[in-house]
Amino acid sequence: MPTQVSPENVEKTIFDGLVELGTERDQLARDASLEDLDVDSLDLVELAQIVEDEYGVELKGDDVKDVKTVGEVIDLVVAKAS
């Protein structure tokens, strides 16, 4: 069963996912910019796999091409799920 989509759950998934991909946890915040965190398009595709596994929400490259911050990724997942 997919995890229930809530802003808190998704934030945890995204934060944990970014740490798994190599970001330092103490740098993570909703307003942290992906560019500053060195999160690039390949990371976002991997993150999309993690999100889909967890919530059954499919994110395509087009969906994430304009996101600039960690918070925007979280909001996008929550919005796509509802």
Partner: protein, 399 residues
């Protein structure tokens, strides 16, 4: 005016440990990095050289190439790695036999067990054969000609030969060149065992009568090659010179060498001619010496055919006796071992060599290192590499 190619930096990750000096010191002492029938790089910890993110984005063969590349570039151009030439005049060429097999097998497993959506978007950039070249060039900002060479177990030497030609032809002032391989994986070990290429006893003993196949190893070797005039102009310490390269194809069999080693002998002769030397000038042979029955017999014939009477007078030893067969990295790691052997004026031993076989009657340097003797001047060596598919590549080094 002829452009000559000098070596200004070397770096290695091998089963004997981290570093080119570790390689030559331990091999010269007759030590072995082989345990339980494999030459694994047990001392290699990727996070010593890479961030977590960089390590995730590199297959094991690429990780090792990055570590070896860092060492070579630090020696040649300093710890800060400031490039001494226009980046477009510095090439990068890391050879491999297979590429990212660890990653390929991991992703294949995910595909079978969890379906296509489980396959990583990193799978292709991790497993592609040119991944190590791409990673080393990106890390150091090398923007000249960059590609990988694949010719199985000859790849490392073919790659260095190509790199030297790039410089000679005027296409680059420097090339960061070498080889990397990490394929001690389920498929590769099973496949080599199935064709009875690898040693059932797990012992690497090239040229010994009891040899029963090669021992798989892994690792990377990277050299900084520079055009001699440019290197001298910047006051570089020159470790040695890559003076010749010769390469041929057997056109004989997918895996077996020609029994008489004719094309291998031709590659040796071409390399010596390219170096503007004669057989009598060769002071040491770093043999391909895999420990397979076929290679070591054919290679001995090839050495005799190419060097004539000189073959009986000089030491011939195999690095693979100490570290196993590094496949596509072998030629590069062995070029470094050859260079350092010349600099020490000492031929390291063929470890485990004890029993002679009829016809295999060269001086394989049993037991202990021995001096390479030829007055006080620079010494000359050849380093042989032969690959499945019948690819023969020979380098001539002087130091």
């Amino acid at each position: 005016m002829t452009r000559r190619v000098v070596i200004t930096g070397v770096g290695a990750v091998t089963p004997l440990g981290i570093g080119a000096q570790t390689l030559i010191e331990r091999w010269s002492a007759g030590e072995s990095g082989i345990e339980d029938g494999f030459g694994r790089c047990r001392d290699f910890e990727p996070l010593d050289f890479l961030s977590k993110k960089e390590a995730r984005r590199a297959d094991r063969f690429t990780q090792m190439a990055i570590a070896a590349g860092n060492e070579a570039i630090a020696q040649a151009w300093g710890e800060d790695g400031e490039l001494p030439y226009d980046p477009y005049r510095i090439g990068c060429l890391i050879a491999t036999g297979i590429g990212g097999l660890v990653s390929l097998e991991r992703e294949q497993e995910k595909l079978i067990t969890s379906g296509p959506k489980a396959v990583s978007p990193l799978a292709v950039p991790l497993m592609m054969a040119n991944a190590a070249t791409a990673a080393v060039s990106m890390r150091h900002g090398l923007q000249g000609e960059c590609y990988a060479v694949a010719s199985a177990c000859a790849a490392g030497s073919n790659g260095l030969g190509d790199a030297a030609r790039m410089i000679r032809a005027g296409g680059a002032e420097a090339v960061v060149a070498g080889g990397a391989e990490a394929c001690i994986t389920g498929v590769a070990t099973a496949a080599f065992a199935a064709m009875e290429a690898t040693s059932a006893s797990g012992i690497s003993r090239p040229f010994d009568a009891r040899r029963d196949g090669f021992v798989m190893g892994e690792g990377a070797g990277v050299l900084v090659l520079e055009e001699q005039g440019a290197a001298e102009a910047r006051g570089a310490e020159i470790l040695g010179e890559l003076i010749g390269y010769g390469a041929t194809g057997d056109a004989h069999h997918l895996t077996a060498p020609q029994p008489e080693g004719e094309a291998a002998a031709k590659a040796i002769s071409l390399a010596i001619t390219d170096a503007e030397k004669s057989a009598v000038d060769v002071d040491y042979v770093n043999a391909h010496g895999t420990s397979t029955p076929l290679n070591d017999a054919a290679e001995t014939k090839a050495i005799k055919a190419a060097l004539g009477e000189r073959a009986a007078d000089i030491p011939v030893s195999s690095t693979k006796s100490s570290i196993g067969h590094l496949l596509g990295a072998a030629g590069a790691v062995e070029a470094i071992a050859t260079l350092e052997a010349l600099r020490r004026r000492e031929a390291p031993p063929t470890v485990n060599w004890e029993e002679a076989e009829e016809g295999l009657d060269l001086d394989y340097v049993p037991g202990h290192s021995k001096p390479i003797e030829n007055g006080d001047g620079p010494l000359v060596a050849i380093s042989n590499s032969f690959g499945f598919g019948g690819h023969n590549a020979v380098l001539v080094l002087e130091a």
